[in-house]
């Protein structure tokens, strides 16, 4: 009973901390980062005003903190806006769709290892808390299974809106997601072949001991030519995985489901207020979880580079927190990369998108699996 309550309490803390504090907080600040980064890329300044409105309290000047309160203002705006439901929509599904968009994205973060582990004393004995919500043996498969549910939100939104632009958007989104899910799954196979493991916790652990998948060098193991040879298929897998991830999360250059110039707003044209905000948050949460998976699989998850973790004491609170910080800094760096790409590339044409997905990505991923298997066979 003691063990059960301990597990329950720590898991609850992890769920609340990761899903609602870390991910949702990160979502709002990713939106802020998106606006600031897009601004500096386009030689603008961006939102730098919202801060403490001290002038309302009779002070001389407002404090703006570089506009860091902007997400708060955005949130308040979304809540206060009129929640308009058009008369011609299918009400039940119209209300269901935004939730269906956000929930899968938040669910997938359950398998993300966001730190090593922390050992704390509890009732006189030492207990280890792994810094992951669910230590599943099917990590990536779980992520794919749940993440692809996100398309239901978009499809339902488009269909229940009962007007043409949202419908087009959702149809596009469906075909795009199906096409790229294949390359997304296939591009992971080389990693799984190399690691021989589907458990994300173990994958992170191995990378922390032997060096990252994309930086296969650890001070303890020294140079290993075989692992550098494997970098060829792994690098290819990384590129294809990231491209497929962009397509999966509907980010530019693959944001055809909501391309403003053709489809007004895409699948969320008819949505307003907090329902629209849920779509927005779902999109960004999917982006964050996608980055988390990429970081875990290719960039060593929570581990320091070059196998430096071998020299750190295991399980201490400070090391655990350090690993969490490392994980989130990698995640944020990757999110900035997402944003950077978005403000660089123009949107694909639809036939180009399908061509890229089915003719190039799919074949490259298949060939990459064979290449990895060949190299592994050659090494052994």
């Amino acid at each position: 009973m003691d063990w059960l309550s301990f597990t329950l309490i720590t898991t609850l803390i992890k769920i609340v901390g990761l899903c609602f504090v870390a991910i949702l907080g990160l979502v709002s600040y990713t939106v802020y980062a998106e606006r600031r980064v897009s601004a500096i890329i386009q030689d603008r300044v961006g939102p730098n005003r919202v801060g403490l409105p001290l002038t309302l309290l009779g002070f001389k000047k407002d404090v703006s903190f570089l506009g860091l309160f902007q997400p708060l203002a955005d949130g308040i705006k979304f809540i206060l806006k009129e929640d308009f439901t058009p008369a011609h929509v299918k009400k039940f599904y119209f209300w269901l769709a935004p939730a269906l968009c956000l929930v899968p994205a938040l669910l997938t973060c359950a398998v993300l290892p966001f730190g090593s582990s922390i050992t704390i004393p509890w009732n006189g004995s030492e207990r280890t808390i792994p810094l992951v919500i669910a230590n599943l043996n099917v990590g990536p498969l779980f992520v794919f299974a749940i993440a692809s549910l996100g398309v239901y939100g978009i499809v339902l939104a488009g269909w229940s809106s009962n007007s043409k632009y949202p419908f087009f958007g959702s149809v596009r989104s469906t075909s795009q997601m199906i096409s790229y899910e294949i390359s997304l799954g296939l591009s992971l196979v080389p990693v799984l072949l190399v690691m021989g493991e589907l458990n994300l916790v173990t994958i992170s652990q191995q990378q922390s001991e032997h060096g990252w998948n994309l930086l296969p060098y650890s001070l303890r193991d020294g140079f290993d030519l075989n692992r550098w040879l494997l970098l060829i298929p792994l690098g290819l897998a990384f590129v294809t995985f990231v491209i497929a991830m962009f397509a999966e999360t509907n980010r530019l250059p693959f944001d055809l489901p909501e391309c403003e110039t053709e489809l007004v707003g895409g699948y969320h044209t008819e949505y307003s207020s907090m329902k629209f905000a849920l779509f927005f948050m779902g999109e960004y949460a999917a982006m964050i979880v996608g980055s988390g998976i990429t970081v875990t699989l290719f960039l060593g998850g929570w581990s320091l580079p070059l196998g430096l973790d071998n020299y750190l004491p295991k399980g201490t609170v400070w090391v655990g927190l350090l690993h969490t910080a490392v994980f989130f800094s990698k995640l944020i760096a990757f999110l900035i990369f997402f944003i950077w790409v978005r403000w660089t590339l123009p949107r694909f044409r639809y036939d180009q998108l399908m061509r890229l997905g089915w003719i190039w990505m799919f074949e490259i991923c298949l060939a990459n699996v064979l290449l990895t298997a060949g190299i592994l066979w050659y090494i052994s």
């Binding site: 601004a39 030689d43 300044v45 730098n48 950077w340 790409v341």
Partner: protein, 181 residues
């Protein structure tokens, strides 16, 4: 019509796989980002003017069309004779004039009229300048005021006092009833 056949450009392998072009684009945007970031850090963004603190008023051209306003001449007499031409020409019908007489004791009471009330609805005004163009007395001008704000519709309607306040005195131009002519 002559048909011009364009040849599709032959792409090299590097161009076909698209990735080098992406890398090039990323470098360009990164360059812009870093440059602008440094400018913002040095508090000197090159292209941005932080509006309420910095304004562009000094550089506004002479032909700038801001809020329309009524002017008085150098003798303090209102130029407007309430002919209502501006009211008729105004495309969005923002101007409402109530014509009236000059006070009996005025020297020009017999020869001229003046508006009893002159209202311009600044919510409707499109700053086209037609009122200025059509005015035979050169009594209405578009000034350089552009920040016309208010918290209610009523506040956005400029009445006669407000219009003369914005317009001020305008010397020269038409001098119809004085000896200088």
């Amino acid at each position: 019509m002559a048909t011009k056949l364009l040849k599709r450009p032959k792409l090299t392998f590097g161009e076909k796989i698209y990735l080098p072009a992406i890398a090039k684009g990323l470098i360009i945007t990164l360059g812009h980002a870093v440059r602008t970031f440094l400018q913002i850090n040095a508090k000197k963004p090159k292209f941005t003017m932080e509006y309420p603190e910095e304004k562009w008023d000094a550089q506004l051209p002479d032909y700038y069309r801001g809020a329309p306003a009524l002017v008085t001449d150098e003798h303090g007499r209102e130029r407007c004779v309430s002919c209502q031409l501006c009211e008729f020409i105004c495309p969005p019908r923002a101007i409402t004039i109530t014509p009236g007489e000059l006070p009996k004791d005025d020297a020009f009471a017999k020869v001229e009229k003046a508006p009893r009330e002159f209202k311009i609805d600044m919510i409707r005004c499109i700053y086209c300048g037609m009122c200025e163009e059509v005015c035979p007395e050169q009594a209405i001008f578009l000034r350089k005021d552009y920040a016309i704000t208010g918290t209610s519709r009523a506040e956005m309607v400029h009445d006669k006092t407000r219009l003369y306040e914005i317009g001020g005195i305008r010397t020269g131009l038409v001098n119809k009833w004085n000896d200088l002519k």
